[in-house]
């Protein structure tokens, strides 16, 4: 899969503000952020805690909508979408990789990967795609039959990567993907993300770790709700 140049950026933020009203005064978590990410980029978002990078992440991840300004995912203004459409956009266009893996504890590794596909297609996978993805991240069928609690952190994160990819999302959104892993496993996961980026995927990663950020083509620094 090569990089296809497209005139519409995958992500376009324009003067995005997110204000949390509190009794002690409004908190400006994002204070006028404009940002464009093209298809096939690998972008790292860095910044100290409380800088607003999680809020930015939630905007890009369509988990939240801005107080003002526009967030466009593949040209679609998320501020105009209903909860239903926003949820469908998360399911179809965004693959999440979390620091705490966030696999569904009631489902096996295989079922975790299959889950977003079933939500989208309303039928179970018969193409072998789920196992192929698991194979590509190094989870064999025997391991795939286990529940997340029976897997190591590294194995869980591999399953999470496979799950993030199953619906062919436009964006791979990673929130501290190596934050809970040892350095050897971290390297393996980062190599995997780099490979996926080389295959043409847009990868956005929030991290506070310099060495992880080195995998990215571009680093965006957030400070006090603004791009520094």
């Amino acid at each position: 899969m090569g990089i296809i140049m497209d005139s519409t950026p995958v992500i376009a933020l324009e003067d995005v503000r997110k204000i949390y009203p509190l009794l002690s005064g409004d908190v400006h978590a994002l204070d006028g952020v404009s940002l464009t990410i093209e298809k096939g980029e690998f972008v790292a978002i860095m910044g100290p805690s409380g800088s607003g990078k999680s809020t930015l992440m939630n905007q890009i991840g369509c988990l939240d909508v801005p107080t003002s300004g526009t967030v466009k995912i593949e040209g679609q203004d998320i501020g105009e979408l209903s909860d239903y459409d926003l949820t469908a956009l998360r399911r179809d266009s965004i693959g999440y990789i979390f620091q705490k893996f966030n696999l569904i504890p009631l489902l096996t590794a295989y079922e975790n990967v299959e889950y977003p596909l079933v939500l989208k297609d309303r039928s179970y996978d018969t193409s072998g795609r789920v196992q192929a993805l698991l194979d590509s991240v190094g989870i064999d069928p025997a391991l795939a039959a286990h529940r997340p609690a029976e897997l190591s952190g590294g194995q869980q994160q591999r399953v999470a990567v496979a799950r993030a990819l199953v619906n062919e999302p436009a964006i791979l959104l990673c929130d501290e993907p190596t934050g809970n892993l040892d350095s050897k496993t971290s390297t393996q996961i980062m190599e995997m993300l780099a490979r996926l980026n080389r295959e043409g995927r847009t990868v956005i990663m929030v991290t506070h770790d310099e060495s992880t950020a080195e995998y990215a083509d571009r680093t965006i620094l957030i400070q006090d709700g603004r791009i520094a």
């Binding site: 939240d64 966030n102 009631l106």
Partner: protein, 403 residues
Amino acid sequence: MKKPDIIFQLSMRSVRLNLLRSVLAALGIVIGVVAIASIGMISANMTLSVTEELSATANVLVVTSDSGGGGGSGPGSGSSSSDDDNYLTSDQFDDIRKAAGSSYVYYLYSESDRIETSDSSGHATVYAMDDEAMTEVLTLTEGSFPSTTSQVVIGPDLVERYGIEVGSKVTIGDEDDDEGETTVRVTGILEERGMSMDINSDSAIITTEKFFTGRYDGEDEYSQVNVVVDDIDEIDTISESIDESLNKKDDEVRVQDSSRMLDSISSTLGTLTSFALAIAGISLLVAAVSIFNVMMMSVTERIREIGILRSIGTQKGEILRMFVYEAAIIGVVGAGIGAILSLVIGYVVVFGMVGTTEYFFAFDSLANVPEGMIIGAVICIVSGVYPAWRASNLDPIEALRAE
């Protein structure tokens, strides 16, 4: 291979993961369903058995005097005593006979009195009728009808209660009373008739007319007159014609048929049943609270999981469905077990309280099982709706942050 809906699978697994908790919640539903279904079955069986017994005498009109003003005209059990003026005269009897056309008409004396056998004593209804009516109306299982005043036939309930047999001696009355004591000999035992309004012979002593009037006086002062109608379709016509001919000026007589009695029994049973069902309903209410509690616990425990599900694209409606399914699984399993148990427990209770399971498998009786089941399951699902709604409306970002 057809696998069930993935949302349903998540619900199933959640129930299985918290099996003990779910089973305890389901137990409430089981108890509620058993209570409702059993009470419904008892009521249905009582109604069916009463209806059946009364329909055997559905062609009988009971005429009693109306001069006592309502109170003394109860069917059967001797509250209409020959001591007061609450009786029918022989003129009235003749009028009734005329009005009734070809129907068989007979009069009945009745009185309640003390009876004593060699080993026990108690009270019983004493009936008397003319010899012809006795052979016409009553059936013996053993022995023969009385031929002298010192001979009686008795109902099967008394036989059982006092251990009487043909040839036994029974003393009627109390030596301290005006009438004194009289000892009679049992010559026959009556066939069981069940509950009926014309004559409750099962727990009665039937004496000759001569004995009765000799003992209690009141010759030609009949407690009631029974009209056995040939054709049941004519019962209303005959009832009206008796009413017209005797109640021209004043309301002299009251004419009742078994449908009236059935109505009053049904309404009494209905009241009792509603009351019992209300109590059973409380057990379902308790069950609903416990399901609600379990579902709220399940939602609280799974906030983070809900956050994950929402963030990777699970719709609000699907989260709602997931928790409603969970409540429904508990409800359906609970109601199912409740249904099976209510068949067993209902059978035992119906046998104990109604005395017969003859009508247990009748539609009106068995219909209480699916009814109870549906009520139980629906209550369960309804209790799960609010927790499910709460779960579906959680903010995914907040939910993901939960530990």
